[in-house]
Every structure is written in structure tokens, then in C-alpha cells.
């Protein structure tokens, strides 16, 4: 359980996190979503006690992180892929962290196997790829078998296999009753992994909602219909709350009726249909719509849409 109340962080003139309040519940994966520079990493660093909030506070499992006597057993965090000394091997890095809390080499080898770094565990971490660094960071987050897991952009740099692995890992951790808080700038990834969403932009809370609700509100309820008798069908469908558009001669885009109703109307009137398909706005589009005003760094060539938010991001 993570509780943030009126969390604010200012760096000089710039407000990175602005009066953020939320509660992250155990047992589900909660996504922390926002464009680059929205304050996600800063918030996570404040949860971990690395940055001190300018005002407000945040607690993990009832008290500030730094006040837990056995912190690694309370919270495991992946904050940056390479919070590791480049000259040290992955295994020695984990051994040193584990030693602070009395965890032995057996558990270290266990998490190394868990994240699939067995073969490179004794190699210098400086030579690790981004994906391997992420796995090592996840290994260190899981060292103390913590009740709360915080991961900042864990899928960054992972291959598709790794992304699938993370997805299952996170769901598994949540199913065990842990609090799982994962940041991402990719809505599509969160839709597959998370049950709940905290959406931020420019440091402010934009939405605190279940993924289900977010998806439902994102769908436009447009049905695409293709028929050789499009003109006749248009007349039959039009009504007070129904609009029909069409860009091509035999295609209609119907708003205000579901596909069941349209199919029934067509059948009753003996109209042939070639296609009848409900359209949904992609989650990515919905997310961009939601955060459009809050995007910190607009590419100068950006049109309205098309480009995923945060493409080519480094790390904010």
C-alpha cells in the first residue's frame, strides 16, 4: 500500500510534481502513466526516500520508506536501469545490496535465476545491454521478497520475450497479494498489464481510474458498415441520435447504434452487408487525447496524432 498526500516537488522554478495524491492498493498491478517529464520518476524517487518532497508526504505500508527497519523487505524498486557500478559483476552487486539486510548468497542466486541472468551473473555490469540492466534491476527489486514492488519503466529496452515475461511477472506478484506500481509512457503496455491507472501530466493528477473504465470511455462507439446498398441503408438508419458519415461510396460510419441493431435493420430490409465492424479508438489515441495539454516536450514536427507518445524518449 502506497499513500501519497499532496506530494509536491519543486526544483527551483520548475514544479516537477504538483500536489499529487493517490493510493496504490495491494493485490493488483497499478500503472503509473504519463508523457515524458510528467513527474513519474520524481514521484517514485520520493516514494523511495531518494528525493525529499518540497511539501506533502508519501508512505509505504503505513510509514515513510526510510523509517522501515528492514526496507528491502518492504519495498523493492527498479528506479533506473543502471543504478549499478559498471565495474562490478551482477552477482557481486546483488551480494553487496543483500548484505545490508542479512540476505545470503542463496537468495541472490535465486533472483539471478528468476530474471534469467545466470550466464552473465559474473560478468561486469558495465557491458550489459539495456535489457540485461533492466533484468538486473528487477533482480535487486525482488531480493528482499518485498510486499511492495515499484518499477520505473521496466519494459524499456526489453525484447518482446522480455516484455511478455515482465507482464507475467507483474501479474504474478500482484496475485500473491503484493502492491505493484509500474510506470510507463506506453498506454498499450499498461492496458495489458495493469488493472488500475494513475495518469499524470506536468506533475498533476489527470486520472485515477480502472483500466476497464478508461478503455470504455475511450471507445468512440463507431460502427463501420460496407454494403452495395449503402445509400438505402443510410436512410433506414438515420434517427434523432444517430449520425452517419461515409468517406467512400459504399461505406458508412455509424455513430449512435450498435452493430447488433444495424445488422438487424439490414436483415429486415434484405440489405446485403459486406462488412459490419465496431471501431474503437486505440488506447494510445485516448491517452494522447487525455494528456495532450500536459505533454511537456512536443516534437516540433508533431501533427495531431499518429506518433506514440514518448517515442524515442531517453529517461526523464
Amino acid at each position: 500500500m502506497i499513500v501519497a498526500s499532496n506530494l509536491t516537488k519543486r526544483y527551483g522554478e520548475k514544479t516537477a510534481v504538483d500536489d499529487l495524491s493517490f493510493t496504490i492498493k495491494p493485490g493488483i498491478v497499478t500503472g503509473f502513466l504519463g508523457p515524458n517529464g510528467a513527474g513519474k520518476s520524481t514521484t517514485m524517487r520520493m516514494i523511495m526516500g531518494l528525493d525529499t518532497p518540497t511539501t506533502g508526504s508519501v508512505t509505504v505500508n503505513g510509514r515513510p520508506y526510510a523509517e522501515h527497519p528492514a526496507p528491502l523487505h518492504e519495498v523493492g524498486a527498479l528506479l533506473e536501469a543502471k543504478a549499478i557500478h559498471t565495474g562490478r559483476s551482477a552477482r557481486n552487486h546483488l551480494l553487496a545490496l543483500a548484505a545490508t539486510t542479512g540476505i545470503g548468497a542463496r537468495r541472490v542466486d535465486e533472483v539471478i535465476d528468476l530474471v534469467g541472468l545466470h550466464e552473465v551473473a559474473r560478468k561486469r555490469a558495465g557491458g550489459f545491454s539495456l535489457g540485461m540492466g533492466q533484468r538486473l534491476g528487477i533482480a535487486s527489486a525482488l531480493l528482499g521478497d518485498p510486499a511492495t514492488v515499484i518499477l520505473d519503466e521496466p519494459v524499456n529496452g526489453l525484447d518482446p520475450e522480455g516484455i511478455l515475461w515482465i507482464r507475467n511477472l507483474l501479474k504474478g506478484l500482484a496475485a500473491e497479494g503484493r502492491t505493484v506500481f509500474v510506470s510507463s509512457h506506453l498506454m498499450s503496455e499498461m492496458a495489458l498489464t495493469a488493472e488500475h491507472l494513475i495518469v499524470v501530466g506536468r506533475g498533476r493528477l489527470i486520472a485515477d481510474t480502472s483500466v476497464e473504465d478508461f478503455t470504455r470511455s475511450a471507445s468512440r462507439n463507431v460502427v463501420r458498415v460496407r454494403s452495395p446498398h449503402a445509400d438505402r441503408l443510410r436512410g433506414l438508419l438515420l434517427g434523432p441520435d444517430v449520425t452517419v458519415d461515409g468517406t467512400e461510396r459504399d461505406t458508412l460510419e455509424v455513430t449512435g447504434l450498435d452493430s447488433d441493431r444495424i445488422g438487424t435493420v439490414a436483415a429486415e430490409n434484405g440489405i446485403t452487408l459486406f462488412e459490419l465492424s465496431p471501431q474503437q479508438a486505440s488506447l494510445e489515441e485516448a491517452f494522447m487525447e487525455l494528456t495532450r495539454d500536459a505533454v511537456e516536450y512536443h516534437a516540433s514536427t508533431t501533427a495531431a496524432a499518429g506518433e506514440p507518445v514518448g517515442a524515442g524518449r531517453t529517461n526523464a
Binding site: K82, A83, G87, L97, A99, T101, L114
Partner: protein, 272 residues
């Protein structure tokens, strides 16, 4: 890279057992110190410089030196290379902390020990102990090696002669404090280049600059600079003006304590 789908996490023993203690953090820092290849290499270089160059320069001096003035002392001569060893020891002390900031490791360290101060104390304790042990060994070997060379010229001194044991073991103490000053500057400045420049600016350059002061001021300033104060411990034939050996060393150690305390305050206060 194999991919385990396993989410089979062992249920840990009660969290009670995972408490962070100063002793555990010291163990952690000891692991960190041992597991960077550059650490043993740098420390061995320091020992090799102390012993090897010490003996070599002692040999050259007595065989090609001609006249040896009244200030020549066999103990001081054999240990003179502590000046080079302090470079290795000081730089490593800085890197112990600034290296964590450069690589991002500090965030992992401070996440594991969010109270922070145990990390600084553990680094200082572990590094201080390692340097003290190694430099004691190096000083003793350099001393006896040097005396062996000096024997043929009857310039050798005995360990039991007045002040000699103090200089031999004092060299190790001096170098230990240099290492701790490195740790303190590393933690205060957090940038390797800046901290190294500051450390050796204070130790090596400051006494030179102080010599530019009005002559009447010099006796009131120079003896109290860190390296001059600590250096009093390393002299059998005192340079004038200088502090008494142990009070000088106490002052140098005091500087290190004050700087470590300042580093502790900032470590607690600053964002990592």
C-alpha cells in the same frame, strides 16, 4: 538469456530478520570494496611505490649523493615515498563515493539503506581499516628495506631509536587520514574530478600558496594546514616551524572528522 516465467518467490522469514544494522552495512561496503578490480590494483600500486621506490631512492641517494647534511635521517629517507602513496590512497578514497554517484549506484545503495548515514560511516570504517593495515605493512617493509640498503654506509637507524617507531607507524596513520579526507571530499563534492582536485589542492598546493603570505604570517598559518600538521608526525628532525608530532596529527585527524561530519549533514539533506 533464458527466461523463467517463474513468479515463485519464496516467502521470506519474518521481516524482523532483515533489519539494516551498521554491522551489515559494513559487511556490504566490504563486499563493494573487494569486488571492484581497480581497488586492489590501486592499493597494490600504493604499496609497491612505497616499498620499491623507497628502497631505490634510498640506494641512489647514498651511493651517488655525496655529502649528506645534518638533516639526513635513515628512517625519513626510507619512507619518503609516502608522498606518492598518498595519491593512490586519496584518489581511491574519493572514488569510493564519487564512483557511486557517477554510475548511479548510489541510488541502489541509499534505497537499501535509506537512513543513509550508515553507508558513509561504513565506507569510512572499511576503507580506513584497509588502508591502515596495508600501509602499516608497506611502511614497515619500506623501513627495513631502506635500512638494509643504508647498512653498508652506516647510515641505518634502528626501530628502537628515538622517534623512529613513531615515524614508521605514523606514516601509515597519515596515509589513513589522507584516505578518509578523500572519502569526505568524495561525499561532499560527489564529482570525481572536482573532489580529487580539491583533495590534493588542500594537501599539496595549499602549503606552497601559503608561502606567498607575508613572512610574519607564515608561522601562524603553514604549520596548521592539514598536510603540514599531519606531516609533523613524520619528522625525526623537525622542520621549523612545525607543530609537535602528535598534536599535529591530532589536528589533521580533526580536519577529517569535521569534513566527514559536514559530508554526513549534506548526505542526509541532499536529494540523491
Amino acid at each position: 538469456m533464458s527466461t523463467a516465467t517463474a513468479t515463485t518467490l519464496r516467502k521470506e522469514a519474518p521481516a524482523q530478520q532483515g533489519k539494516v544494522t551498521q554491522l551489515r552495512v559494513i559487511n556490504s561496503e566490504w563486499i563493494k570494496l573487494r569486488t571492484l578490480r581497480s581497488t586492489p590494483i590501486t592499493l597494490l600500486v600504493a604499496v609497491a611505490l612505497m616499498v620499491g621506490l623507497g628502497i631505490l631512492f634510498t640506494y641512489l641517494r647514498v651511493n651517488h649523493g655525496g655529502h649528506h647534511g645534518d638533516t639526513f635521517n635513515g628512517a625519513e629517507m626510507s619512507l619518503a615515498m609516502y608522498r606518492l602513496a598518498q595519491l593512490a590512497v586519496g584518489v581511491l578514497g574519493v572514488l569510493l563515493i564519487s564512483g557511486e554517484y557517477t554510475t548511479g549506484m548510489i541510488r541502489a545503495s541509499l534505497s537499501a539503506v535509506p537512513k543513509r548515514l550508515p553507508v558513509l560511516w561504513a565506507k569510512a570504517a572499511v576503507y580506513g581499516a584497509v588502508v591502515l593495515v596495508l600501509m602499516t605493512v608497506a611502511s614497515v617493509i619500506a623501513f627495513y628495506g631502506g635500512q638494509a640498503v643504508l647498512t653498508s654506509h652506516h647510515l641505518n637507524v634502528s626501530m628502537s631509536a628515538p622517534g623512529v617507531a613513531r615515524v614508521v607507524f605514523g606514516t601509515a596513520l597519515y596515509l589513513t587520514v589522507v584516505g578518509l579526507l578523500g572519502v569526505a571530499f568524495g561525499a561532499l563534492i560527489r564529482n570525481s574530478a572536482g573532489a580529487i582536485a580539491t583533495l590534493f589542492g588542500v594537501l599539496l598546493i595549499l602549503p606552497d600558496l601559503a608561502d606567498l603570505l607575508p613572512a610574519s604570517w607564515i608561522p601562524n598559518v603553514v604549520p596548521y594546514l592539514p598536510s603540514e600538521a599531519g606531516g609533523a608526525l613524520l619528522q625525526i628532525v623537525p622542520e621549523s616551524p612545525s607543530m609537535a608530532p602528535w598534536s599535529g596529527f591530532a589536528l589533521m585527524a580533526g580536519y577529517a572528522v569535521v569534513l566527514l561530519a559536514a559530508a554526513a549533514v549534506l548526505l542526509k539533506r541532499r536529494d540523491a
